[in-house]
């Protein structure tokens, strides 16, 4: 503080000066306010106008109809069926009147459902419907409809639900649909379409991978709503667009036939058109009924499926891995030929072969074998001995080139493609040198060899056509020219002839000749040892049996189709897998003969697939009720 005397004159000057400062500050604040107003209302106007519009207008989405899946001839595989549903529009409810008990009585809802409806009503946002019942019967729908004037806020609508006419036969191919879960809802940035009652998305199989095509574009009723969700007025609607129809390469008839022909066995069958790679059948049995999943599967049915030791929930085509067994031998023969092995070179089979300090046992005492007869009679000794005089890396490369251990570009969610072992692979994976017994194991499709059923069909397909075909599931995908296999056509012809003999001369599958005039099938049996039994957990007799495999193509002289089949624990390939392939192949040439072969079998099994499934479920239900009681 300065020691000067301040007079009232001083004070008056100070006041005037400070009034100017204050006035200036006020003008500055006024300028700032107008500036800010201009910034918001003029400069940023467009942004805020958009925000205001998105506040004002809400879209009540109208779900699009899901696209169909049809087979190569246009037959339906996945379609939509009219269904009836009942919802509540919370804001139209009469306040003070509880209509839930009345609806529960009309629709015969259980307590669990009533509790769910009450929770959803409490949490709902005014104009969004709350689901009361889905897939109600026509009688229930009609019952609600006639009482509608008396039930304000209740909405009874006809909608669509997914329907698979072939049921379990296509289960692992198409997968199934279901309501989106919280994770899927988050993953799509909280797409409001996903939480509309009754809206289903693909959960498995093609339904999942083809989701972008099948879903379509939702339309919607544009409405003006208040912040509290009250509807003020309806604006012009936005039309929806149905999902696309997707045509598959599948032959629905063959698919269904093969599924039925497998009976109660656990296995997989894949059929391809060898000229194009089109997958005609993609069967994994036993299977669940995808229709049950679409409607929300019951707890009992789920329990039954998950407890079954035939694993109906596992897609064996894409995820089942098996030792190839002797089905590898045609590819081995081709590899040997390419490396210059003389097909006439003979190896004597005394019923086994000594490698190092271990004696490998053959299935029989075959005597002197050349390459043709070794394939025809499936002599292991020949392949062990010849494997040891060839280069394991070059051999593996050839088998791999023909499809074993290859991952294919297919629209399926998960694909396990197995292993085709080579010295390089062994060094990388297990850090050890390739030994003679590795060659021995690999040359008969045992040891580290693991393949999936798609490869089981592609391999004979490539051998039959001489082309590097790639399996395809979608008709719409552009077709690329298929390159020829980089092998000597004479070698291929040799292998095809040997495979022809397997079925038609003195081979292992002579019991599975086609019952057709002038059409011969070529094939190769395989029997895969089931090792590491303890880990699989099923210690029944069935589970100890070997896997049965069979690969085939037909006709021998002018190949059209190739089929690969594996029957889990089916025993010998010739007895379990080959007849199924034979009948499926027959179907492709003569449907009547094929069904004639199926009829007595189904009679023996106790009805068609659908009949047996229904009976199994009924038995399980009564059994589980009995244990509860």
């Amino acid at each position: 503080m300065k020691p000067i005397r301040i007079t009232s004159t001083h004070q008056s000057i100070t006041f005037s000066r400070r009034m100017i400062v204050l006035g200036g500050a006020q003008v500055a604040v006024g300028g700032l306010l107008i500036g800010r107003l201009g910034w918001l209302a003029v400069a940023q106007n467009e942004k805020y106008q958009l925000l205001s519009e998105s506040n004002r207008v809400q879209l009540i989405p109208v779900p699009p109809r899901r696209g169909w899946m049809i087979d190569r001839y246009g037959k339906p595989i996945a379609i939509n069926r009219a269904s009836f549903r009942v919802d509540i529009i919370p804001q139209q409810l009469d306040k003070g009147r509880d209509i839930v008990p009345e609806l529960a009585r009309l629709l015969q809802l259980d307590e669990e459902e009533v509790a769910r409806i009450r929770t959803e009503l409490a949490e709902s946002r005014g104009f969004q419907p709350v689901q009361v019942g889905e897939n109600v019967t026509y009688e229930q729908y009609a019952g609600v409809t006639v009482r509608l004037p008396d039930l304000p806020g209740v909405q009874a609508t006809r909608g669509y639900s997914r329907y698979y006419p072939d049921g379990p036969a296509v289960a692992h191919l198409v997968g199934y649909v279901g309501s989106a879960n919280a994770k899927e809802y988050e993953a799509e940035d909280k797409n409001p379409l996903l939480i509309i009652p009754g809206f289903k998305i693909g959960k498995q199989g093609l339904e999942k991978t083809l989701e972008p095509y099948l879903r379509g574009t939702p339309g919607g009723q544009r409405v003006e709503v208040t912040a509290r969700g009250r509807l003020v007025k309806e604006l012009d609607p936005k039309p929806d667009r149905s999902g696309e129809t997707v045509q598959l390469t599948i032959d629905e008839g063959l698919q269904q036939y093969a599924a039925r022909r497998m009976g109660d066995q656990s296995g997989a069958l894949v059929a391809v058109d060898v000229t194009s790679g089109d997958v005609l059948a993609y069967v994994s049995m036993p299977a669940f009924d995808p229709n049950s999943f679409s409607e929300g599967i019951g707890r009992t049915e789920w329990k039954m499926l998950s407890e079954d030791d035939h694993l109906p929930l596992l897609n064996k085509v894409a995820q089942g891995l098996y030792p190839s067994g002797s089905t590898i031998k045609p590819a081995m023969a081709l590899a040997f030929l390419k490396q210059g092995v003389d097909p006439k070179r003979r190896v004597n089979c005394p019923g086994g072969y000594q490698i190092g300090n271990r004696y490998f046992r053959c299935d029989a005492v075959h005597g002197p074998m050349d390459m043709h007869s070794a394939v025809e009679r499936s002599c292991n000794t020949y392949f062990w001995a010849t494997g040891l005089i060839t280069d394991p890396q070059a051999t593996t490369d050839m088998v791999n080139y023909l499809g074993y251990g290859e991952e294919f570009d297919l629209p399926i969610p998960t694909q396990r493609y197995g292993t085709m072992p080579s010295p390089e692979w062994l060094e990388k994976k297990y850090h050890r040198k390739w030994q003679g017994y590795d060659t021995a194991n690999t040359s008969i499709g045992q040891g580290y060899v693991l393949i999936n059923p798609i490869q089981l069909a592609v391999m004979p397909g490539r051998l039959a056509s001489g082309k590097l075909i790639q399996p395809r599931l979608l008709m719409g995908k552009p077709r690329k020219p298929i390159p020829a296999l980089d092998v000597d056509p004479e070698h291929l012809e040799f292998v095809r002839k040997a495979m022809g003999s397997v079925v038609n001369d003195h081979g292992t599958a002579v019991g599975s000749k086609l019952p057709l005039d002038g059409i011969l099938m070529a094939g190769k049996t395989g029997t895969a040892q089931v090792f590491r039994l303890g880990e699989r957990g099923h210690q029944s007799n069935w589970a100890l049996r070997d896997h049965a495999l069979f690969i085939a193509f037909a006709p021998v002289d002018k190949p059209r189709y190739a089929i690969g089949c594996i029957i889990e624990h089916g025993g010998f390939g010739a007895s379990a897998a080959a007849p199924i392939v034979r009948d499926s192949m027959t179907y492709l040439f003569d449907k009547q003969k094929a069904f004639a072969a199926l009829a007595p079998l189904e009679e023996q099994w106790g009805g068609t697939l659908a009949e047996r499934n229904a009976r199994q479920l009924a038995d399980f239900k009564s059994a589980s009720r009995a244990t509860q009681a």
């Binding site: 503080m1 300065k2 005397r5 301040i6 007079t7 009232s8 001083h10 004070q11 100070t14 006041f15 005037s16 400070r18 009034m19 204050l22 006035g23 006020q26 604040v29 006024g30 700032l32 306010l33 107008i34 800010r36 107003l37 201009g38 918001l40 209302a41 003029v42 940023q44 106007n45 942004k47 805020y48 106008q49 925000l51 205001s52 506040n55 004002r56 003006e224 709503v225 208040t226 912040a227 509290r228 003020v232």
Partner: protein, 371 residues
Amino acid sequence: MITSAIIPRPLARLPWRLIFLVASIASFGLIVLYSAAGGSVQPWAIKQGVVFLFFLGVAVGMSWMSEATIKSLAFPVYGVTLVMLIGVEALGFVSKGAQRWLDLGPVRLQPSEFMKPAIVLTLARFYELVPAAEIRKWRAIWPAAVLLGVPAFLILVQPDLGTCIMVVLCGVTVMFLAGLPWWVFAAPAGMIAVAAPIAYQFMHGYQKKRIDTFLNPESDPLGAGYHIAQSKIAIGSGGIWGKGFLHGSQSHLDYLPEGHTDFVFATMAEEWGFAGGVLLIAAFGLVIRWGMKVSANSRTRFGQLAAAGLSATIFFYVSINLMMVMGLAPVVGVPLPLVSFGGSAVMTVMLCLGLLMALERQQRTRSGLAG
């Protein structure tokens, strides 16, 4: 001032231009309230109109008070208001809840409202009594600080941050104009600037969140930042000329919360646009300028300080509210006087204007006598 033989002298001596200006602002406010109610005079516009007319009458009545009377009332009014503030506090303590008003039968008295003009008059009176030579001494500072600090604290713990800030700003304005040394204002301002970031570090999570929300309301558009985000949308979507009377979707569809009270400016700007906003700000500017002129023309130290302080009260009301609704200040609950629905702000502002009119009449009478 209208001079006419037909109009009686006392009426002609009223500051008609100011009354017209204030009535225009209030009428515009009624139009906005009519729209905010979805095109209805119920429940807000009619009530607000009655309250306004009543306090306009009170203000005009007050304009006949002499400066001497106002001066003599300054300390007693301050004292009574302070006692009422303590009373509210005690009542709140008894009823175990926040309380801001005293229930006196038909009228609810909110003492903190009276404190705004009361603190201005008291400090003006105090500095009139301080001799010019003492103004830079400690004796001129601490009593004012106590006079201001005690009610400010009582209002802050009510809790009513908005009113507390207003009372402090009004008091500080009078102290500033009284000629207190600069450091009295610069030092606390500097301290706040330094301490704020440090204090932020020590705050609780929810307190930090409030500050964050103010600094970036879009970060939490559905929670605490909802008010300010919706207010900005309403103002911003109005454009230059607005969406038109009764066509504001933000306010009519209830997206804008408090669209008839604290955020009434957003309701207005949505329908009347930038043009309406500028017009309203300009009208308030003219009212404040009129008050500042009364202060500048005042011959007495009390008149100068009181008139400037009362004008500043109106200025702070308007500017804090507008900064708040346009996202320049945190939401502290200060209404826009004469426009926002609610009697308290109308009462305070009309009391201030009544006092200003009284002070202005004194100048004219005295100058008339002198001339």
